[in-house]
């Protein structure tokens, strides 16, 4: 059985007749071919499938596709700047070397971006708690937290050199 839903996907108004049995994750990947959103555990325990819905980080694997009706959804495909430049948080992940296998990274980047939007300034402890719904089995998290700190520091002052607790990053 299909329901027709209307929602905003990465800034664009879309209409879709979706199978009511699908998760948002399945609709994004199968119907919209937006395969940046990854399926990890499938039961809301790892955060790999995180997307932003009306300004909140949500696991799309345990979110019914029909619930998207009327919502504004951002996936990893919608986070770069309008001119194609990477978003500051994406650039910070690269600069801090926060990526290893990459499977958790779309969810990690989205959760980090929303965390930065929700807080004018972030402590390391706040970043840890803010990203506690996203599991990474490669990095040990330190460089991911470094990346968010880096993005936070850059938006505060845009200095030439940002000093992090663990290492210095020369521009």
């Amino acid at each position: 059985m299909k329901h027709e839903i209307n929602f905003t996907l990465n800034g664009e108004a879309v209409t879709c007749a979706v199978d009511i049995r699908k998760s948002l994750l399945e609709m994004l990947r199968d119907d919209f071919e937006l395969t940046g959103t990854k399926e990890g555990c499938g039961v809301g325990e790892c955060g790999a499938c995180s997307v932003i819905i009306d300004g909140r980080t949500v696991d799309s694997c345990i979110y019914l596709a029909v619930w998207a009706d009327g919502k504004a959804i951002t996936t990893i495909e919608g986070i770069a700047q309008a001119d194609g430049q990477l978003a500051p948080i994406q650039a910070a992940f690269i600069e801090a070397g926060a990526v290893q296998c990459g499977f958790c990274i779309p969810g990690m980047v989205l959760a980090s971006d929303q965390l930065l939007k929700d807080h004018a300034q972030l402590s390391r402890a706040e970043i840890r708690r803010g990203l506690s719904g996203n599991m990474c089995r490669c990095t040990g998290y330190q460089k991911i937290i470094d990346a968010v700190q880096l993005a936070d520091a850059k938006r505060q002052a845009d200095p030439k050199t940002v000093v992090l607790p663990h290492f210095n990053i020369e521009r």
Binding site: R21, G44, E45, V58, I62, Y63, L64, W67, G133
Partner: protein, 289 residues
């Protein structure tokens, strides 16, 4: 894909009653963080039926402070809303602390406090706090409204007294059940996030000078449902606040808990936690008093 036959979105309580009457086999889904996980795991009661979504029903939202001091909390408030709500933080801060420890941010954005109680998991993080506040569950059904104490709402693991067509609408906490109390909750789990408690304990305590004048304790995951500790609570009344008293409170809790060994933890370790967590919680609760 989920093994469901249809989906209906109720946008008012009246519409919910109509939808539920038309399809008595349909299940309610709130934030989906338990229901959809069980459906995905093909738990028989969660497959092969229609779902009725209730998160867009306005009557189930809002947190209100009523004229007599009663706090009325809509069942469909998410954990994030409860955690940060100024009324909750001011009057029932133990509840704010407890729900801040649920899963991870993603779960707390979608999961609702009503869903947490209706799922009736023994380890639900919101339950011990709600039990110690003597919370009243407001249930609405085709026959009208009824108020049920939360301790009478549970029938067993995953089982509540809710009948088909009924919905848990609000939680009500009376002023006498929060005024003058200090609370603390410990979630004892393997990880700090994205985990379920091996054992949890909420303490709500009132002191007069150096004496305990009122104590309420509730454990999660120490039995088939969240459990209050009548023996230890009665003992604590009027006792001096000493290490010996706290140790005896912990020992007496073993009279009311029913710890078991399962894949998460052993009975022996849970019993040990039962004896130490109340004292730690009481001490932590009174640190700010």
């Amino acid at each position: 894909m989920y093994d469901i036959t249809d989906y209906h979105e109720a946008t008012s309580l009246a519409e919910f009653f109509k939808l539920a009457a038309a399809d008595p086999k349909a299940r309610i889904v709130a934030g989906g963080t338990d229901t959809l996980v069980k459906s995905r795991a093909e738990v028989p009661a969660f497959t092969g039926m229609a779902l009725i979504g209730i998160t867009r029903i306005p009557e189930l939202q809002g947190i209100e402070y009523q004229a007599d001091g009663t706090l009325s909390i809509g069942a469909l408030n998410t954990f994030v809303t409860i955690e940060h709500d100024p009324l909750i933080q001011k009057y029932v801060p133990l509840l704010s602390q407890a729900v801040s420890l649920v899963g991870g941010p993603q779960t707390r954005h979608m999961g609702t406090i009503g869903g947490n109680i209706c799922n009736a998991g023994p380890a639900a993080d919101s339950a011990p706090a709600l039990f110690t506040y003597n919370t009243i569950c407001e249930i609405q059904g085709p026959d009208g409204i009824k108020d049920i104490p939360i301790a009478d709402f549970y029938r067993g693991p995953g089982q509540t007294i809710l009948k088909p067509g009924e919905v848990l609408t609000r939680f009500k906490i009376k002023a006498a059940d929060y005024q003058g109390f200090h609370g603390h909750y410990t979630k004892f789990a393997r990880r700090n996030a994205l985990d379920i408690a091996n054992l949890s304990c909420a303490a709500l305590v009132k002191v007069h000078g150096e004496q305990i004048s009122d104590l309420r304790l509730c454990f999660g995951a120490a039995g088939p449902t969240p459990l209050r500790m009548p023996v230890a609570e009665a003992y604590a009344q009027g006792k001096a606040l000493t290490d010996a008293t706290l140790a005896q409170i912990g020992q007496l809790c073993l009279r009311d808990t029913h710890d078991i060994t399962d894949w998460r933890d052993s009975k022996a370790f849970r019993d040990h936690l039962v004896t130490v967590l109340p004292g730690r919680d009481i001490t932590a609760a009174l640190r700010g008093a």
